[in-house]
Amino acid sequence: MSAGVQLSRRRFLQVLAGTAGALVIGIPLAEAADPPLPPALLGDDYRGLGAYVRIDSDGNVLIGTRDPDTGTGTSTALPRIIADELDADWNRVGVIPLGLGVDNRNGQPFWRYGHQTGGLGDSIPAAWADLRQAGALARWLLTQAAARRLGVPAERLRCQAGTVIAPDGRRFGYGDLAEAASKIALPTAPLPLKSPDRYTLIGQPAGDVDARALVTGQSRYAIDSDFAGALVAVLAHCPWHDGSLGTIDTADALAVKGVVKVVQLRPEANRLPGQTVRAPAVAVLAENTWAALQGRARLKLRWQPGASGSAGSAALEQQATDLLDDKNATGQLVRSDGDVDSAGKKAARRVEATYFQPWLAHATPEPMNCLVRLDKDRATLVVPTQAPQQAWAVVQRLTGLAPDQIEIQVPRVGGGYGRRLDHDYVAEAVMLAKAVDKPVRLLWTRQEDLAQDFYRPASVQRLNAVVDRKRNLIAWTQRVASASALAGRGVPDDRLWASELQADQLPAGLVPNYRSSWYRLDSPIPRGPHRGMPHLANAFAAESFVDEIAHALKENPLDTRLRLLGEPRQIPLANGGTLDTGRLANVLRLVAERIEWKNWLRSVNGLGIACWHVNGAYVAHAVEAALQGEKLGIVRAVCAVDVGRVINPLGLEGQVAGATLDALSAALNLAVTFKDGQVQQHGYKDYPLAGMAQLPRAVEVIVVPGDRVPAGASFLAMPTAAPALANAVFRASAVRVRRLPLMKELLRLL
């Protein structure tokens, strides 16, 4: 067998001749023993082949998606990237999630599909880099088959919407060619890809592929999945992850009709957070959810606090402030340009401000859950995860199964935000299935979900700026004190800042003397990755501060920003890539124009603006806010983004509008607090996501057209929403909010 067409360094595409005259293209499995994976895609005889594209003899096309879709639209965008290269008829394309692709290579896992994570903003760039080849190969084979049938050189044929067309007008549907195409020898080199002027789907708007299933309630999430004979498990977790169970009385719980068993769980020693049970817990397993919940309510448990039992968010904030006040304290230097100290000698004006941002929970709409069945030599799971490969590692360790004996299905996921990069809930489900020797359907209640999170840590930031006599910003210092989200996660001490500060964040590269440093706090409260970290926290501080500088200079904050950006040019970034100041200034101007920034001084409502860049993509927000008494209304929100080439403009608009609203919701209302090591928020009553009344009635999205390699956009529109709002609130009320959540602080200051 030839190696096939190279997809990436270690992965090769082949024709996996399908059943009934279908053409199936994908990555072959070394030994297709009895592997899992969507039979619909592969045909019954070819279960488990790592396919991407299947073309049936009736002309229907099925495309597999490898990355979990947590609501970021990858299950629409990824197939369209392949379908465009294939010149498929989108009306005849079906989409199916692939689930985890893992092969057994000498006992080690080999990730069949390479990239397989969702919600991190890198799905589209990764797909762009390799998946187009799958579509190109299918199109090439179909064209070759048509050429043979017609006796016309393949170069003279063209493809359009699922047909191959000859110069004389004769045409064949892909379905007619599929079987013949599946027998043609593969090309020896990667195929050339389409030139952009021939794109038919890329750049065109497309609705969500699952829309119909979603509005009719037919779409199944992991939480909706079930196995015959599965027991429902609900947990009572210890409020302290390092605590322990003092006393337990299960008699009343076991007396509930339908309750089958009560099982205790403990975190395994020496495991990284997110790879084992998060806290000691008592599980009630029952025949249905209601019985399990009643059983849990009747458990008599006494938990003992561990060392975290004295932790409080207020004390930690005080420590952070003390640390930043302490002249002798030293932080870890993240970036240093020029000489901040000597620049101070040329100061005509100095500005200083301190910003506080609270702990945040993930609060995924679909709470943590996991369905697992353990058979001899096989584990089958349905998991709402952002990283099935990492879920696999947890299952493998707990079961000792071979790599390909573990099947992980990932249906559409009800939100991720980084919470589902940790798999404590998967460990719980597997441990319980082992304990009861039955399939287990684990469900967390919302209260558990809020109390047992890996939180976004709070931070206190102090910023200092020096402006010279010519109004130039000549020095910028940003000092961040926080308990790193990476602590305890196997990251070396001198890299713990990486989740708290970015070396390249604005205005780095634009100010001759620039220094950013991180001050370490320690906290026993579990922390972890969070959507948009650390951009969210830092953009709020930095972009609020730019406005404070502008105010000190009595300047229009748009002018201050444009002056800071200067001439359009490329500034190299520490993390690779460049900052294109022209593209950043462009998005800023676009939102300014749309919101009629020229009125910023005269407008009765407050106007605010902010800009940022994330991984080669650019974003700006402009917000109009009205304050009537104690009621804050967000009258308008405008967002401009430049992500390079846009795959699905409708999907992108949804992401940008959605991220804007989610960021505003968090900034307005949300904070997690701890007292005696316990979370004080128990439900949406205490963790009040903004409803429609608090949010703007429209988000005006401006997408800059472009042809650069597409950048991810899943959280791009989050960082600038809150500072634009705070800047608008300042114009509306003369109150500068330096502390989130904004509403609480605004009402305190008004």
Binding site: S219, Y221, W290
Partner: protein, 171 residues
């Protein structure tokens, strides 16, 4: 052609069917009798017993568990089965016609792409339907009151979908 009809055996009296103890309710036009715990919330009855999983668990106030109870939106978590005798429940699965034709609101959600992760979508549909039933041309202030939480920020697109239905299908 000879038609054979089953004849009741006249020699034996027909025993009256035993009255089933339970709670008689209608879900999406079908009648069911719940014989389990009367305190079981409707949400778990729908999801665990009837396997109608379109109605989601999101926690109190999430709105993901909204259903229509005699035409009014209520959170299914908060309604025990005991209160449902002779009542009519409609879930997201019951919105489309028997022939698969979509309700105009469902179509409007598709047309406006008012979908993120989709977990809250059934909640929005039920809440909006309740509103449109009460007020076929709701104001923006009316729409503001919809009791659904959405992390994906579909609010603006949901608003457009509702307006579209109120305008007879025009955006």
């Amino acid at each position: 052609m000879v038609q054979v009809q089953a004849q009741p055996d006249a020699s034996r009296p027909i025993a009256p069917e035993k009255v089933r103890e339970g709670i008689d309710l209608t879900v999406n036009g079908e009648r069911f009798v719940h014989t389990g715990d009367p305190q079981m919330p409707l949400l778990w009855y729908l999801r665990d017993v009837l396997r109608l999983t379109g109605t989601k668990y999101g926690g109190e106030l999430s709105g993901a568990d909204l259903v229509l109870l005699d035409g009014k939106a209520v959170p299914a978590m908060g309604v025990p089965m005991a209160r449902l005798a002779q009542r009519k429940v409609t879930t997201v699965e019951g919105l489309a016609g028997a022939d698969g034709s979509l309700h105009p609101l469902q179509q409007a959600f598709i047309d406006e792409d008012a979908i993120g992760c989709g977990y809250c979508t059934p909640g929005w549909l039920i809440a909006a339907l309740d509103l449109l039933n009460r007020k076929p041309r709701p104001s923006d202030d009316d729409i503001d009151q919809l009791p659904v939480l959405c992390r994906c920020g579909c609010h603006t697109r949901v608003r457009r979908a509702i307006r579209r239905v109120a305008n007879g299908g025009q955006s």
